[in-house]
């Protein structure tokens, strides 16, 4: 199948690149920060939120920071995937081969989204390890964390489609990163408004499964913005002149 062949080569292109390190390193560093946070402030935090179990407290403490880092991470992943083509003049070679532009665009999108999902899985594993190292006495709430992971993967759909198109359109990766960075930071404020909280960059902020009634925002934004922006971007990419 053409799509899988293109996806296979897209992954092969990332060998010896920064991308695998980012995907592995991001969740590890984040979990490390969480460990330091709870190691130093556990007594204070549990006093402030006596209704939460330690596992819930861990998620509650991390969701805001991860909600900021996650879209930034996707932004960087998308930029690195496209940087290869621009830096190495790859577009003209790749698109002069007997592969369809749709398959190339979709394969790159899939790679970015799958890698963002891998960071989520690693995040959950690292958070579990953090809890175990901190010797949380309670049983690990697997369902709650898995649901959080699923929400994050859905939240990634919109940001992936948006940053994928921007990175494919802007030959200077720094512009795409600057937009993603601004969007991700701006989302912290936009998420507080009834009107602007649907912006894809804010989706991850509503993904938390601890006492959060706004999870539907993540699902709706991700499932609508993801496919719509993917199709719009693909339509533009298919028509684009490759210079």
């Amino acid at each position: 199948m053409m799509l899988l062949r293109v996806l296979q080569t897209e992954w092969a292109k990332q060998r010896r690149s920064l991308l695998p390190w980012l995907v592995i390193g991001g969740p590890l560093i984040f979990a490390g920060m969480m460990w330091v946070d709870l190691y130093l402030r556990y007594s204070y935090l549990s006093g402030r939120h006596p209704e939460l179990t330690p596992w819930e407290l861990l998620m509650q403490e991390g969701f805001m920071l991860w909600g900021l880092f996650y879209p930034i991470g996707i932004t960087i992943i998308a930029a690195l995937v496209h940087y290869r083509e621009y830096h190495d003049h790859g577009w003209k070679h790749l698109l002069a081969l007997p592969v369809t532009r749709s398959s190339v665009y979709t394969a790159k999108w899939l790679l970015i989204w799958l890698l963002s999902c891998v960071t989520v899985i690693l995040l959950l594993v690292c958070l579990y390890a953090t809890g175990r190292i901190l010797q949380f006495p309670e049983h690990f709430p697997l369902g709650q964390y898995v649901l959080y992971g699923i929400n994050l993967c859905i939240a990634a759909l919109g940001v992936t489609s948006l940053q994928h198109w921007l990175s494919s359109r802007l030959s200077n990766s720094l512009y795409a990163i600057a937009i993603g960075l601004s969007g991700s930071i701006g989302a912290l404020f936009l998420a507080q408004s009834e009107i602007t909280r649907f912006v894809p960059y804010a989706s991850a902020l509503f993904a938390m499964t601890v006492h959060n009634e706004d999870q539907w925002l993540t699902i709706v934004t991700g499932l609508i913005a993801g496919p719509v922006l993917l199709l719009v971007g693909m339509a533009e990419f298919r028509q684009r002149d490759i210079s």
Partner: protein, 304 residues
């Protein structure tokens, strides 16, 4: 009925807002030839090649390759075309071999093809080095190797000798010349250097400001310079009579005569005159050089 052309464009144009890099182009490339696409920098060569590869959409006109319309049969056509557009494309952080394997995967061809093309471009010994460490000539050869994967019927090369030293240019030239002869591949090669095209091409198309000014055999292009053989010989009248007898049109000029004949005939004429006891004191080729013809066509473009 099959067309005699491997590549045929009809009224091919590309327009941007207030700029037309390619204007009503009618290209005709035969199977088994090396077609030189010649023009000064900015003439529209690369834009044309990008259109031939489906990278840019034409504003008007049509492209037929292998007798099929490119816009409808893009994937089928491109599966039989190898190309290198401007600078070679390679992923510098991968080895030469890994770069070629990527293309093999996309073309669905066995990895053994990599060894075949590495052998053709003489890169086998450097295949495990990172592509970014290659010299410019090696990078060009890697680009040609990528284009040769899958045994294409048509090779499209855009300025393949750009930036190379004389030895590198010689290597690439030898590779190009052997393609039709040893591998049955038709080659479409663009360049702004007349000498390059003259040394490798059978037929030539000259483009300037987006328009095709000439298309034909290299010999036809040379004839546009109205070449003649200048001769000084004694006795003059007897020489003219001999030449008339042998069927050469002769015109007497100051201190000699001009023979309207193919310059390649000069040695034959010389030998026959000497055998007939004519004293030949001067024999040279006159007329405008190929470069003059090209410069006149392209109105003295300063890029030669």
């Amino acid at each position: 009925m099959m067309s005699e052309w491997m590549i045929e464009t009809k009224g091919l144009s590309k327009k941007f807002r207030n700029f037309t890099p390619v204007d009503q182009l009618q290209l005709h490339v035969r199977e088994g030839e090396v077609y030189g696409f010649l023009g000064p920098n900015g003439a529209g060569k690369t834009t044309t090649i990008r259109m031939l590869l489906g990278l840019i959409r034409p504003s008007s006109g049509s492209i037929h390759i292998f007798d099929r319309e490119l816009s409808r049969y893009r994937s089928h056509i491109l599966s039989q075309v190898g190309a290198m557009v401007e600078s070679p494309s390679y992923y510098g952080h991968l080895t030469g071999r890994e770069n070629l394997k990527l293309t093999c995967t996309l073309l669905r061809i066995p990895e053994a093809e990599v060894d075949r093309v590495l052998d053709i471009v003489r890169l086998s010994r450097a295949q495990h080095k990172l592509a970014r460490t290659y010299s410019l000539g090696m990078k060009q050869r890697l680009g040609i190797a990528q284009a040769l994967l899958g045994q294409p019927k048509l090779l499209i090369l855009d300025e393949p000798t750009n930036g190379l030293d004389p030895a590198g240019i010689q290597e690439i030239r030898e590779l190009i010349v052997q393609m039709p002869r040893e591998h049955g591949i038709t080659v479409f090669i663009s360049s702004h250097i007349l000498k390059e095209i003259e040394l490798v091409a059978n037929r030539v198309g000259i483009i300037h400001t987006g328009r095709l000014l000439f298309e034909g055999e290299m010999s036809e292009l040379r004839e546009q310079g109205h070449p003649f053989i200048r001769l000084h010989a004694e006795p003059v009248q007897q020489t003219i009579d001999y030449l008339h007898t042998w069927g050469y049109p002769v015109e007497a000029v100051d201190h000699g005569m001009n023979i309207k004949a193919d310059p390649a005939e000069a040695s034959v004429i010389n030998r026959r005159l000497i055998m007939n006891h004519v004293d030949v004191s001067h024999l040279s080729i006159g007329g405008r050089s190929l470069e003059d013809v090209f410069l006149e066509m392209t109105k003295g473009a300063d890029s030669l």
